[in-house]
């Protein structure tokens, strides 16, 4: 009798365990549309296996939720729409996610490793008392992840021992999820999700008609060799002709040539386009960390000793002020 009870409870336990293999993807969006990295994150979620739910949280975000419900492979969309989520503050989203976790017991909570995901997920992990895993480039199994350390100069494979896995994924390492789905939308748990000590004031987003840096197929970046912000016009002209995004090295950003959000590197954006053209960039370790997974790398630099040539598929040793206009004309 006793043994049969044991067997029974063991079976229940394993059924619960199977059910626990479920993932919550936290969607990134601007209320009207999903950010492209959400689709990359969904692909990563599908590699974990099991059920996928998507949380859309924001203020007036029904359009984004509608788009999320059409994502492939999603079983349900949880919608939390309210004024307390203005500015998507981690201080207000965290208690919502914890409440959602308490109700549904996900095995994994994941988001893209963007500024949004990086600010939010560790706070959630701390509240759940688990060690988060950041900027994952590969998922080997539900508990084994691959990430880079030391500016991409070493590859760490780790096994997460915590029961709940809180993970951010590198968008460029997972292709965007394609196809259509038809998930039902339900309300996320409700509660007091105001952030008492934090107030969102404003956002100033750089406006550009060019493709978004992290999702662009071609990226053209300028470095210190551009000499001034005005000279970046040379790159904009080439970028517009090629349908490319424009990026920059830290040196170019620090010198004030372009805005900070264009920085490619260890501490800026990580890009992996089909084609990366580095113009007047020497190729410091910290810059390479942000672009060395690009399919084809082209370097234009007048210094033949520049380290960028060690990773470039095609290097052109030339004065960029002559080479870039010529390239623009001929391409």
């Amino acid at each position: 009798m006793l043994s049969s009870i044991r067997v029974k409870s063991f079976c229940n336990g394993s059924a619960v365990f199977r059910r626990l293999q479920s993932t919550l993807v936290i969607a990134e969006h601007n209320n009207d549309a999903l950010a492209p990295i959400t689709r990359n994150t969904l692909t990563a979620a599908s590699k974990i296996g099991g059920d996928i739910s998507v949380l859309v949280v924001g203020e007036n975000c029904s359009k984004a939720a509608a788009e999320a419900s059409k994502l492939p492979g999603v079983s349900k969309v949880l919608l939390a729409d309210g004024g307390s989520f203005k500015g998507l503050l981690p201080e207000s989203i965290t208690p919502l996610v914890v409440a959602t976790q308490n109700q549904f017991n996900f095995s994994h909570i994941i988001a893209g490793a963007s500024a949004f995901g990086k600010a939010l997920l560790p706070r959630i992990a701390a509240k759940l008392d688990v060690s988060p895993v950041t900027d994952v480039v590969e998922i080997k199994s539900p508990d084994t992840f691959v990430r880079t350390i030391y500016a991409g100069n070493a590859v760490l494979t780790l096994k997460a021992k915590d029961k709940i896995k809180v993970v951010t994924v590198r968008g460029t390492s997972f292709p965007p999820a394609e196809g259509n789905g038809d998930a039902k939308t339900e309300a996320a748990p409700t509660g007091d999700f105001n952030a008492p000590g934090t107030t969102f004031v404003s956002q100033e987003l750089a406006k550009s008609d060019r493709p978004e840096l992290t999702a662009a197929k071609i990226v053209i970046s300028g470095g210190r060799g551009m000499k001034s912000g005005d000279n970046f016009q040379l790159l904009y002209t080439l970028a517009d002709k090629m349908g490319a995004a424009v990026g920059a090295s830290r040196a170019a950003v620090d010198a004030g040539f372009v805005a900070n959000d264009l920085q490619v590197g260890q501490t800026g954006k990580i890009v992996a386009p089909e084609l990366y053209i580095a113009v007047g960039i020497s190729g410091a370790i910290q810059h390479l960390a942000g672009m060395k997974d690009s399919k084809t790398i082209v370097a234009i630099n007048k210094d033949p000793e520049a380290p960028i040539f060690q990773v470039a598929d095609y290097g052109l040793v030339a004065d960029l002020f002559k080479a870039v206009p010529e390239l623009t004309e001929k391409i």
Binding site: A154, D162, D261, I285, K292, T296, F309, A318
Partner: protein, 253 residues
């Protein structure tokens, strides 16, 4: 006036080309130049500027790590920090110590020291985690101002400009709060020789995670640390025409 706690980490110097150990257990750290994590220098500088503006009354630097972390604390003291706390991590725990442990330690020290502002760098350049500020704020249940490029103090309120993907964002937070420093926050000063000498007399208290009641048992198991794939060496092209031709062949243009 605010009391400020700064977290500083001893890491392999940013200019060093790291080497992976042949047994794939980690990277070679013995005999390799170490220095203060560059983002933490920015955090220290911001704290010192707060003191110079008479916003901060006292600055305490905390470093969690091996015995050599005291050198990192001395650097912070030479930059203008008042005193240091070294939380000594046993050699056996160094490989599996994670931001979650460090955050619990920082939160405990911040509470004990009645800190109003905790500043850390946005990420350490060794593990590249970018977690500690967020987790410390969570453990303290207080606001977080991550990736800060500008911090203004108005009494018990901070106005923080944050670097986000599309540009900049401004938030206001009440104290106590945790900040993480982005590159653009400031230009850290060099410690002058007289200040380095003076720093030798400033106190450093040594404690262990156990003293603080923080459990540092591993949350992860390191499976392997390997070299990244090496890119095939490319070719130097003689002129723009050849470059255009190569790009066309590859279907890029």
């Amino acid at each position: 006036m605010a009391r400020v706690l700064v977290g500083v980490k001893r890491v392999i110097d940013y200019a060093v080309k790291i080497r992976v150990k042949p047994d794939k257990s980690g990277v070679v750290t013995d005999g390799v130049k170490h220095s203060m994590n560059p983002f933490d220098e920015i955090a220290v500088e911001e704290a010192v500027r707060m003191k110079e503006k008479k916003i901060a009354s006292e600055i305490i630097a905390v470093s969690c790590g091996p015995a050599q972390s005291q050198e990192t604390l001395r650097t912070a003291l030479a930059m203008g920090v008042d005193r240091g706390i070294h939380v000594e991590i046993a050699p056996g725990d160094l490989n599996t110590i994670q931001p979650i442990h460090i955050s619990k330690i920082l939160a405990k020290v911040a509470t004990d020291e009645k800190a109003d502002i905790v500043i850390v760098g946005k990420q350490a350049i060794d593990d590249d985690s970018n977690q500690t500020a967020q987790m410390t704020a969570a453990f303290l249940d207080c606001p977080q101002g991550t990736f800060a490029s500008k911090v203004e103090v108005n009494g018990k309120e901070l106005t923080i400009t944050r670097e986000i993907d599309g540009g900049l964002e401004t938030v206001k937070v009440n104290l106590p709060a945790v900040l993480s420093a982005d590159l653009r926050l400031n230009e850290p000063r060099y410690a002058t020789l007289p200040n380095i000498m003076k720093a030798k007399k400033k106190p450093i208290k040594k404690v262990t995670p156990k003293d603080l009641g923080v459990d540092v048992s591993p949350r992860i198991e390191i499976v392997s640390v390997e070299d990244p794939p090496v890119r095939q060496a490319g070719a130097i092209v003689p002129d723009v025409d050849t470059l255009v031709q190569k790009l066309k062949e590859k279907g890029h243009a």
